[in-house]
């Protein structure tokens, strides 16, 4: 099975390499508004992926018949702060995460330095998560800044069956894992032990969402910090 993911990486890497998504000059020219290449790539990718996701949610199942596990990344202040830091780094290196690896493959020696920096940066973030989380309203540590938040907003044809990919809500584990901030601990301990109970994400649902949420749908959602 790992070979399949390796193959996905190769195809993705080839595409990024040959379309110029990892090319230092094209990245700078995108930010200078001198070249449309990267805007075209991202725009086309979204224009095709969005209806594809819609159809997949309507179907509700993957090729293998599993329910489509499609959550939303949580919204918090880290989106803006982290986004800005990443944008500066993207401009300086001329590479976002995928292309850092692609450029290493292509033989760009400086990309190795960028990868080293990236890994150190990610490690610094992970070790400082307990201190950053309360300041920036990040989700509990067990979830991380980018994962595990499932929220239903629309009914796609009523056949959707999303299930949580997030770690089960476990008050003890969350607290003992060193989740910082009394607010997080309160939320964790306040969560019912049964993770199948409807945990809402991102605060209260609007009336329409609540209406949609009622019924046969199965909510299995890890708690998120409200906005």
């Amino acid at each position: 099975m790992q070979a399949v993911y390796l193959l996905f990486g190769v195809v993705f890497g080839w595409t990024l390499s040959r379309s110029g998504a990892g090319d230092y000059d094209l990245i700078q020219k995108m930010f200078l508004f001198q070249d449309f290449q990267l805007y075209g790539i991202i725009g086309t990718a979204v224009a095709i992926t969005a209806p594809g996701l819609y159809l997949m949610k309507r179907r509700g199942r993957t090729a293998g018949g599993a329910p489509v596990a499609l959550g939303e990344k949580p919204r918090h202040r880290g989106n803006v702060v982290g986004g800005i830091l990443f944008g500066i780094g993207w401009s300086i290196t001329g590479m976002c995460p995928g292309p850092i690896l692609v450029n290493i493959g292509e033989g760009k020696l400086y990309a190795l330095a960028a990868l080293a920096g990236t890994l150190v940066g990610a490690a610094l973030f992970g070790t400082s998560y307990p201190r950053l989380a309360p300041k920036l309203g990040l989700p509990p540590l067990a979830q991380g800044a980018g994962g595990g938040c499932l929220r239903r907003r629309w009914a796609w044809g009523g056949r959707v069956d999303w299930r949580g990919t997030a770690a089960p809500v476990d008050a003890g584990a969350g607290a003992s894992a060193g989740v910082a901030g009394a607010r997080h601990r309160r939320r964790l301990t306040a969560a019912p032990a049964d993770s199948g109970a409807a945990q809402r994400c991102g605060g209260a649902l609007r009336p329409r969402q609540r209406r949609l949420a009622r019924g046969a749908w199965d909510f299995a959602i890890a708690p998120c910090v409200p906005r």
């Binding site: 890497g13 992926t49 760009k108």
Partner: protein
Amino acid sequence: MKQLILNGITPYHWAWGGAGVALVTLSLLYLTNKRLGVSTGFESVCSLVVKAPYFRRAALLSSNGWRLPMLVGLVLGGALSAVLGGGWAPTWNAGMLDTVFALGPAAKVALMFGGGLLVGFGTRLAGGCTSGHGIFGLSNFEPSGLVSTLSFMAAGVVTTNIVYRVLGAL
């Protein structure tokens, strides 16, 4: 005619590039039920050596099995693109960076390491990068994806314009 730094190759038309990215994103979800994202894979790499609680989360460790092979695949994909496109050779060539600033290898390493720090820390704080927030998040109409994408695009525009229109013009 547009040319890549890599062997002066002419890049695909952007529509084909975007279609390829979309194909990878959709088939990864449809065939294997995985949400495309690269930067979480850096946490997977960290989890191999860093023992902080953040890198021991079940949600992260359970995804190492597909993220790590995909990262390796990205490197191989780049290598394959070079080998089949005029040959693979190690290079320091960084296009405009060289023509405008003429940095030596040591300065380039320092610059790239510093930029990499921001990429690693920033993407993880934002909760995703160009793929997870940009491609997938926007396609899935996620508020966090839109906010993150606008943030990193704006910061990139400002930074590059400072670097090339202000510092580069000195």
